[in-house]
Subunit: 292 residues, 4 copies
């Protein structure tokens, strides 16, 4: 099976390498030629246009920064839909707007192609270790047929529903995560201001109804847990600006479908204040420090 | 051991009954005489003033609606501190302001009494079944000495720190719970507006970083989980007005200690809108219905 | 002087009629043929494509619902930029995203055309009576040259800065208006809940630092002022859904320029709750009724 | 006419001096003896307890920091109600909770005294120059009888309704002012981020529906207006911490009457973030700088 991989960034490159390691034939493309050089060193091929890369493959995987890049790559005159052979399977792993995912999939379907939207979570560590989580929108049968391909890059592969549902799950989950992180920070800071030990407070809430992923796994208060970004000067992890991007996607999506997300949009504004004060590259749990 | 129990409401009465069942000698008081009649039917004694009830006991337990009731009961001229014998242990199980708990405990300590603030979670079902969670502020030694007493009323008994810390944990946890419930509702409604099945969305988020108690245990969307208030017309459970009271305690506390709780106060306003539209007696997960 | 008028809706049609009354030669287009019939009855001409309408005119005015309509009308293959004669002046009176206004103006400028973005306020009454306010972005000289044209449709014509600034002023002003209306409603409802007469409260605040347009001119409380929508069951005026659209533009714009608008986005969510409860067609001051 | 003046701080002392200048006989009290010395230098008398100060006067005026000070001064065993002669008129000019004002006035009325709650706006400059605004709750007849007394200290004297209404107007107005200032800052920062000149943006919005006191009189953007704190490094004026106190009063009041003030409480949180970052003593228009 031959796979075209478009977008060889911090996430895409290690994903492509894991496919090479699993003995897939991989041909890659990125506007950054260094990334293409690195793919070659790992045993992959490259070509200098999207059209050439996707021309002779069984599967196209894209991993791009934002909606417009995905739309351009698939829909442009020299883009993927106009360049692939019939029966090529199309998989977009980018995190983009659900509307955009549906639009591209509709175009693909009309041209007779099967497409999956399959955004990931798990960060660069997950990409390198092949332990990503995939949330997949599109045909369940198609997903089952290529399950072994996904399993070379990830550990948990969920079918979320028809096209667009992969992106929808990602948007909803990450908006909720932003709320959990800010809400947990508010609770911990409130406790500390009352003289509580944040470690004890975290332990009791973790066994109570305040229990949540941010509190238990990724505690935003320094020295409450080992091995968290909070206990390492908020280095590494998932950056403030990435969370801000995802809260922006949630806000745009809420506007387009007529939903109200009052906590989600307030969290967006708080992460934006935090980012614009010079903290955009810190781990997103550093929102703890925005609060007095 | 003889125990005075002040406050025989929906929570206090079943807690007192559990102590009677465990062969403690219990003498109770409530301004509602029917509650006192019911305690007598269960084998308890009563008296018609707080002063008489607490005069000859080893332990006083109070379970009252709000800060002012607790302050009055302990600090009034005919109140508990002026009526008990030396060495009586004082335990307040009400949910009140941490500042108020500290104030009463300070007065008790100055008079030579040991006091614990020990608010509970678990609702009326927990009170009846003896499965409450206690969050206890005060001396750890004293708590350990009377642990068996708590274990007749509850299952999990946590020591939170010095006096006031029991209330602080309760306030922080329940504020966070209010945020979790509204945030989870926002995420689920956003997904539904995009065409997602809320059951699938809940399953995937429960295994991802959006994981939290409200989503996993107490899902606010009807028919996602069996045995939730949401799947039973939002009957039973923990009422909107109780959550509103706790978010009010968090807001007051934040103001008194100088903390910022932007999500917490926004949640308070949303639960207030919901309550004032006639939903105060529904389960608090019905906040799901406030969102379009 | 011959004018092409594209978009003959509730605002565009009366604006075009005012130009005809002032003896301009007007040729109009709308996808709704009834609107074109009505323009003809008023003495205007019509044609059945945008290309034909704009082919032989001195000025093109567009008044369209949203960014994508404006972009399509100007930039499509059969659109305005490809169909007008050299030296035709282009004026867009739609309320759209500042980014979109800049994009279209950039394309027009590159093709040698002068363009103004000139959104209006004043509603359908202002359009009919020729008393609109115009906020204009683009060259000040060009604006001065065609000032008499604007003065046939409006009363106050402000130059806001280079292209896009007309839309920016509109977005900023209307976001602030949404905040003023909700904030004023909160203050009045708080006063009423304390037993205040809202008329006296409004009078005193109007002479104090709480003074603002919503309070003084457009009071949201019924029967505080005559001739307000609030005193007429919230009929007429500026609809909830129009305010919601403008708060959505502000939110999109804030995300695109990296700004934080916490009150603006919270107002957006509250107007959305109100709209989705079935109040979208009421005047926007009815947000007063969302509050308990 | 002899007047007792309790509370000789930044506001109380110049108010008392203005009464002395107008030939009233003034006897003052403050826990700060320096303030009492200064009153003596200005021609006033003093005594070393509240009971002595109020014993032989026609009118008592109090100007104290917060609700608890007012309640203590009036209701304590050695307090005002127990120390004044029959027919003494009681006027509280402090800014306190409406509930607290009603409670003290109820006690006074039950003891046969007339009382007015009469909080002020206008700051220390208004106190010194005798140009304060008074918002008065209580009997209109009583207010009219002592109007000339108020006119020695202020310029605009409004009757707001029965007891408590003076405080209610103050709370509502200042909450609205906090919203206006933050909302205006959001609009101006959004415009600036789009490349607008804030002076032009302010001018146009001041003539449009975004018009409000903060924008027109007290513009938060430096160098848009002369003679504003914003154009003087946010020195002088009305401090962030005073606005924070008033937003706290609004929040407490909203909770006690069951009102929802979503924008008001969000503004409170933003001013708190700003204060705790070290800006508490700056003018409150410096909230402009919290936004990116």
């Amino acid at each position: 099976m031959k796979i075209a991989f478009i977008g060889l960034g911090n996430m895409g490159l290690p994903m492509a390498k894991n496919l090479i390691k699993a003995n897939f034939e991989v041909i890659g493309f990125d506007i950054n030629t260094k990334a293409m050089d690195e793919l070659q060193l790992s045993g992959g091929q490259t070509a200098n246009t999207i059209a050439k890369v996707v021309a002779q493959v069984d599967v196209v995987i894209t991993m791009l920064p934002a909606s417009q890049h995905v739309e351009n790559s698939y829909l442009a005159t020299e883009g993927i839909l106009n360049s692939v052979q019939p029966n090529t399977l199309l998989i977009d792993c980018s995190t983009i707007a659900p509307e955009s995912a549906k639009k591209v999939a509709d175009q693909a379907n009309q041209r007779g192609f099967q497409m999956l939207d399959a955004p990931v979570s798990g960060g660069t560590a997950g990409a390198i270790n092949g332990t990503l989580t995939f949330m997949v929108g599109g045909s369940k049968e198609i997903l089952n047929q290529c399950m072994s391909l996904f399993q070379k890059m990830g550990k948990n592969i969920y079918h979320a529903g028809p096209n667009g549902c992969g992106q929808t799950v990602k948007v909803c989950n990450n908006m909720l995560l932003g709320i959990l992180m800010l809400g947990t920070s508010e609770a911990l800071k409130l406790g500390i201001a009352n003289g509580m030990d944040p470690k004890i407070l975290s332990e009791i809430m973790s066994k109570s109804s305040g229990r949540n992923w941010a509190l238990e796994v990724y505690n935003p208060c320094p020295n409450v847990m080992d091995n968290t970004p909070a206990s390492n000067q908020y280095q590494g992890g998932f950056g403030v600006d990435l969370m801000l991007k995802d809260l922006g996607l949630a806000t745009e999506n809420a506007m387009s479908v007529g939903a109200s997300i009052p906590l989600g949009e307030l969290a967006r504004n708080m992460f934006n204040l935090h980012s614009k004060s010079g903290n955009g590259k810190l781990d997103f749990s550093s929102i703890f420090n925005l609060l007095p």
